[in-house]
């Protein structure tokens, strides 16, 4: 079994909990909070007003009793649990939010937001889904502008280009620092376990003070590098290196990762939201064009399966499989997520046919009911690697 050094990650793992308290204090001091659900939200606009931008909760164990009153049971668990958190008022960040940004990311989410609007106003952005069309960028640019106006009205502040460029610098720094941390696992043997990666993924965008969050990630990276020089490793030369791709994972979704690591494999990289998925799409800070346009271009480039065709995901995966020296790929789909489920066809085509590496597509949810059937698949997959 792979040794997991979560002690290193305890400070990072506490970020979200600490900030749940800090956000209340900040609000008392007159700070505004803008919540969001998805990587497509241009949080830079919120940051440019001095508001706190925070990802809202969307990950808990079944059952989602409150959500089940209003939503179909066979809907994706990310949507059901996001709704459940909101209606039961158990997400402190949803509770604290003065404004919420959401997108028409997928069919399930957009209608869920309609119903959620009965509780709190939500600014829903019309996300285009054919990323390569010029009109998609034009549409998204106008949506980013509409959001800018909405935020300015809510905050009573005008967002200047200068403030926006500063905010872009902050999110760029975050992406740079997080990428450097994830890239430690290009080492063989690896330096981060899959459980470590889950902590990093779950804390994405959670720091109230964004630059102190960047500093925390950088300290962690340096500490691991220092330990690596003294011989710190996770697994060994022979440990099968697995790449996990697909639907978003939270800290509580350790079912797959723990099964992989229980049987001697190691999840070395994650092409998921909060993982490596959006780290490549960064704005060139020397580009002096309208920052709204730059934001729009950046976000339409995020390779989520709602985009069609989503060639950028397949390109990113191919690069990651090479960079992280991956032995096999697991493609995760939450039940009810049609886009990731169907797109698995292209992921399989890349991994099995083009790269001729072991591939496993798993469809599951946030419950433990199928743990044993997943166990057989994961064990047999690792026997193949």
């Amino acid at each position: 079994m792979v040794e997991v050094q979560t002690e290193l990650f305890s400070a990072l793992a506490e970020t979200r909990n600490e900030n749940a308290g800090a956000i209340i204090t900040a609000k008392e001091e007159g700070k505004k909070v803008i919540g969001h659900y998805c990587a497509y939200s241009p949080v830079e606009l919120a940051l440019a007003t001095g508001a706190i931008a925070v990802p809202l909760c969307g990950n808990k164990k079944e059952p989602f009793l409150a959500a089940d009153n209003d939503l179909p049971h066979n809907l994706c668990p990310v949507i059901r649990s996001s709704y459940d958190f909101a209606v039961t008022d158990t997400c402190p960040f949803f509770h604290a939010s003065d404004m919420i940004i959401a997108e028409t990311t997928c069919d399930g989410k957009k209608i869920m937001y309609e119903i959620l609007q009965r509780i709190k106003p939500i600014h829903v952005m019309n996300l285009p889904q054919i990323p390569d069309l010029p009109m998609s960028i034009t549409l998204w640019e106008s949506e980013v502008r509409r959001l800018k106006t909405a935020i300015e009205k809510e905050m009573g502040i005008e967002i200047t280009d200068e403030a926006l460029r500063k905010a872009i610098h902050v999110t760029n720094e975050e992406a740079r620092a997080r990428k450097a941390l994830f890239d430690l696992n290009r080492n063989k043997p690896a330096l981060l376990s899959g459980k470590d990666l889950l902590v990093i993924v779950a804390q994405a965008g959670c720091s109230i003070d964004r630059m102190s969050g960047v500093a925390l990630i950088e300290r962690l990276t340096e500490e691991i590098k220092k330990r690596a020089r003294q011989g710190y490793r996770v697994g060994n030369e022979k440990t099968p290196r697995i790449l996990l791709t697909g639907t978003p994972l939270g800290e509580n979704d350790d079912k797959l990762v723990s099964l992989v690591e229980e049987y001697g494999g190691l999840v070395v990289a994650m092409e998921i939201c909060g993982g490596y998925k959006s780290l490549d799409v960064r704005i060139d800070e020397t580009d002096r064009r309208d920052p709204i346009r730059l934001l729009a271009e950046k976000q339409v480039g995020i390779p989520c399966s709602v985009m069609s065709p989503n060639k950028k995901r397949i390109q990113l995966l191919e690069r990651m499989i090479y960079d992280f020296d991956v032995d096999g790929v697991i493609d995760l789909t939450w039940h009810g997520c049609h886009t990731y489920n169907i797109e698995s066809y292209w992921v399989a085509d890349l991994v099995k046919n083009k790269l001729e590496k072991p591939f496993l597509h798993l469809a599951t949810d946030f419950s433990d009911a199928d743990r044993e059937t997943l166990r057989v698949r994961i064990e047999a997959f690792l026997e193949m690697v």
Binding site: K352, P358, F359, A363, A369, D370, E372, T373, V376, R377, E379, A380, E383, M384
Partner: protein
Amino acid sequence: MLTAGLDIGSRTIGLVEWDGERFLREDIMFTGIDPVVNSQQLMNGHTYDRIVATGYGRHLATKRNLADEVITEIKAYALGAHHLYPDVRTVLDIGGQDSKVILVKQGGGVAGFEMNDRCAAGTGRFLENMALALGLGIKELGEHAMISAGKTVRLSSMCTVFAESEVVSLIGRGEDSHRVALGIHQAIVDRVSAMVRRVGQQPRFVFAGGVAYNPCMRQLLAKELGIPLTVPENPQTVGALGAALYAGQRIN
């Protein structure tokens, strides 16, 4: 050398003994509620140089010191089928609780696999329940269906629970029970064939697991897939056989 392969499945436990050259004994019994006691009964006090467990109860077997090591049933079926038929490329195993298609490499390793979803649709358990709904024994169901000579009633659901009430209502409507039985088989064949096509099928195609005893399933599957099927003499013990062989490899 004497090794044993123990396949603790959801419905049956299989035991195969291997002395490095020949299989000495193959036995099967129901899993029941105490697979450990039943496995011990199968072993009947014999001692082995190495025991490898597979199937749903494989980890239980090592936890209770019944076995030295585990492999998944996927690897076990590939190894077992490859020993019996060295030119095997595809193995279909329809067991009590799940069904799987395994692509086998030239040396007997696993090149890829696909398993059914988490429920009992398309498995032996499904056939058992449908036989019960028709008032038949599991061994009679296949023959019963073949009497209808190709005339079938389509079932609309593959869910074991829904299909059972569908079968009951078809019989209540006066449908011929032979045709209903054929419809039951066809439903599984449709589902399993889709899974086979997803993985890709190559000859030699070995059909194993308890459901391979069913003549109607064999006939319909061969027709649907357009490929001759090889059914081992004891299709239910292929997994235990693979585990016993693996135990032998580990000693050498």
